[in-house]
Symmetry: C2
Subunit: 229 residues, 2 copies
DNA sequence: TGTAAACTGCAAACAGCGTTCGCGGTTTTG
DNA sequence: CAAAACCGCGAACGCTGTTTGCAGTTTACA
């Protein structure tokens, strides 16, 4: 009976998520690598070669340990991705606190988010996975709500707006990364007259001005400022 | 030499992509299943159980064939996903042709796109992969450019706008699918006062009016209407 | 203080994945 | 009629996330 060895990392009884789980047990030998070291190594791998390079074996190998040993610290690869996301979201701190209208402040935060997504190009994809919010993600949400305090709108509308802004920021991050990537080369455009005409035109410069700012401002006013509530 | 058997599906010499490749060879026996049947089976699997359910073995199994046999028709799983995307994008036809301002028409198309993304919830993810545009995708682009013809803006700006609208549509599709999914349950909100206050408030109704329409309209005017070019 | 429980790390294994390869049988071409 | 091209198959390869039994180490409790 009870021959099954128990793994504290799998302990669902006291908090199912990675955020409520002790980083190490209280009884055994000290782990050779901390949770932070593991997450840092995984982030480094993702920064270098993308999310797909973050395999359990690769992360373990980068730390000089066996793949299975990671499961003493995490209960799944998803846990690792959640930790990676939250670690990077932490780079948004400290949050803007004073100066300017709420729109200006929100825009500043969005800019920092854009820079973050460009620093870690895998982040949007990792966030797109339905993820359990960690402390830094919660803090970010909290900061957003604080900035939106002067706005007269319902909570649901504010959440919608935050999600939408985050989404648009990741769209910008993606489009910048793939600006010239979408290739229509080697395609017969005969059947697509407007597409053909567009390419026949001399290549126009990308839209002038700060597209990012204009887009987000119009989005925010559209979502919140004109809200009838 | 030349003992290596050649696979016409891999023929990179005459068109590297799936779009320029003959559906079947001209010499051997007739394939038991057509390319359309394969793609249809894959779409059915994705509709039922998500993109991850579309494994070569599963698709082959659904058609009563061996996994390796699929490589007579496709050169990779990515090819299959490209075909799936283009097949579904084809459901957008016919494109709006008359009636209303360009904004109204564009919005109508966006609505159809939203419905499409909800019919096939895996589509945004499949499109997010950098994909080689197929005929239906090209036709969709062409239709967008046609609708934007009255707009005085550069080609680059128009492409940006199309990409952004497509992205926002997929954001809406995703947020609708995960409306109540984001759970802050079992989280100690003590450290996040604004988040706690937001949840203490009586749950406000989701933002009134047509959020989709308002968002896209403000996005379009922000991106295109006010363009100095 | 001694013993039992808890914890760590490892090597090996499992099932599933995308993909490749060689084979026998079928169809078309010259 | 022979040769080339093509189809489908089953077995394999290397990779993935994850599980499991084992040996060694540390802590807690009687």
């Amino acid at each position: 009976m009870s021959g099954a060895p128990r793994n504290p990392a799998d302990d669902d009884s006291a908090g199912r998520s990675i955020w409520t789980r002790p980083q190490r047990g209280a009884r055994g030998p000290a782990p050779t690598r901390s949770r932070d070291e593991i997450v840092a190594a995984a982030v480094a791998l993702a920064d270098a070669d993308g999310l797909s390079a973050v395999s359990m074996r690769a992360v373990a190998g980068a730390l000089g340990m066996a793949a299975g040993s990671l499961y003493r610290h995490l209960s799944s690869r998803d846990d690792l991705l959640d930790l990676m996301v939250d670690r990077c979201v932490g780079e948004l701190r400290p949050y803007p606190a004073d100066g300017g209208s709420w729109q200006d402040q929100f825009l500043l935060l969005a800019r920092r988010q854009l820079a973050l997504y460009r620093r870690h190009r895998w982040l949007p994809d990792a966030i797109a996975r339905r993820t359990v919010p960690g402390p830094n993600t919660l803090a970010h949400f909290d900061a957003c709500l604080r900035l939106l305090q002067p706005v007269r709108a319902g909570v649901a509308a504010k959440f919608e707006a935050i999600a939408m802004v985050t989404g648009v920021v990741s769209l910008f991050a993606r489009s910048a990364a793939a600006a010239g990537t979408v290739t229509f080369d080697h395609v017969d455009l005969a059947a697509y007259p407007h597409l053909a005409a567009a390419f026949a035109e001399p290549p126009s410069a990308p839209p002038a001005g700060d597209l990012f700012e204009r887009t987000l401002r119009s989005l925010l006013t559209g979502l919140l400022a004109a809200d009838p509530a």
